[in-house]
Amino acid sequence: MDKSIKHLRSIDCCGYRADGAWAAEPTTLACLALATHGEHTAAERLAQQLADVQQSNGAVTANSESDSPAWTTSLAILAWLACEGYQGNIDRAVEWTLATHGKPAPRNPQIGHDPTILGWSWAAETHAWMEPTCMFVIALKAAGLGDHARTREGVRLVTDRLLPTGGSNFGSTLVLGQPTLPQVQSTGLAMLALAGETNSDPRVESSLRYLAENLIPTTTTASLSYGLLGLTAHNRRPPHAEALLAGAWEREVDRGQSAYKLALLALASVPNTSWLPSRTEIHA
């Protein structure tokens, strides 16, 4: 993992591939990973890149272009919270977040989830889905807004989108009466979003079990990382986590060390939730 952090420290352009273009998600995750591992100068450099591309409305788009989806605003909030001197950026991003929501729809007997709950979407003017809602819930909680009505509704959405037997996917539960399939990555993110909640829904426990059963040596890097983040947040980190991470790291080194994948592994390597920033209040 030291080598991963060293590599991340040296990268000025964080993308999804080793030779890929700059993108907000890899940059935010790398910033968090560097900050967590004490590399504050490098983290600040990436935080500044995010500040430089923040739109005038407070959003941070996925690839810095103004008409791109802005779900990465959530991750930018987390990255700035982990650094010093970005309160203004955080304030504007939070303001945009609270004013933005996925497009609700009337209840539909053909689908299982409740489409009336307000969450967050991938792209503007589209429906709310699991992962962007999880990311914004996590960000708002970290920013001290865990009790905000939008955060509470986001938690409600995340719970609503858990599958009947546990786990989650992109945010669909039943389609025409048929349950859909769970996926490790989104389940991990859902569990991270629901960490610390008093939630007696049995699907939370079954989702944690699903994760524990599906983190195996062949689990791919992003899914493995989010799965571990989710389990760790519920104090259910598997004993073989380090072995799984080591195997994933070797695969990524062979492939050329994408900032995105290395950052995820670096965050998943933390045996607790100390990587998550935490503020008890937010300035108006």
């Binding site: 993108a23 989806p69 053909q110 979407s121 991938w122 792209a123 003017e125 992109f170």
Partner: protein
Amino acid sequence: MAAESHGDSRMNAQQENTNPNRRTFLAASGLAIAGFAGTKLIGNALLPKAEVFIARHQRYDGPLVQTIRDGLAACGLAPAHFTNKRVLLKPNLVEPTRLIPHMTTHPAVIIAAAEVFRTWGATVTVGEAPGHVRDTEMALVESGVSEALDDARLKFADLNYEEVAWRVNRGRLSPLKGIYFPRTVCEADFVVSIPKMKTHHWVGITCSMKNFYGTLPGIKYGWPKNVLHHNGIPETVVDINATLPRSLAIVDGIDCMEGDGPIMGSLKRMGLVLVGTNLPAVDATAARIMGIRPERVSYLALAADRLGPIAEARITQRGERWQDLVSPFQILDEPHLRGLRAEGGELVS
């Protein structure tokens, strides 16, 4: 215009509101894209009939390379068409799981297609933008495609996360003024749809045309690509097909999906491979084999005579006759699907 030039990876935000005149667009984009797109729209009535090749008794461990070669030749394609060209193979890996192998394009079909084009001198890339899965690596591993690509030393392009370029919507059926495509798609000379032949619980069938939803990047359209759904599924299917570079189809109809497709349906063994250069004609033929009336499939009805023929009289069958191969697929007993049935076939819940 920088954003329109062939291979340019940088999107110009101002393009969204720009309506370049046609001459400028042609000059900037290159004839390979604009010429074919124009042909698609100008007058399908002036085009010759479309050819669709069907092979039966096919197996994943059979001579698929020869089958595909035969199919391409039957549709008028020769090796010279692909020499020094960039060919992108686009399988269907929407939401793979090893528990449902008949959901996704079998690796054997992808590898066989790659071998054909590579021996013809093309540079081949396999690319996909899974619509329900953000972890593309997981999709590759669960589908078995990852191992197959490694063995064949084939390059994979994760179309969900590449740099994108904006293209004017050539179909103009949906409200979308333009469509963002990943760099690998924009740079391809040929984009080959390699779908699985399946029913679809919303639109009836999914085959070569709907498969091209997976050429659009999730980084712009989300997971799922809700922007497309909100702008009309059949309309955006046609628009995407109208806007892509030159395309052709190689359909994995060996192990198919019926019932609650495109994800949770049942296995139906058909042993078929379909090949064609006109995707509406290919999909219409597949629909007929499935016992579904193509003119009742919304995106095919829209594509008819815009992008190609779906009428039986305007499709020249090469290889097998579709009439000899009909085996009605189970479709869900839902109001919006009941009218699709040709004859026979079972409605299931």
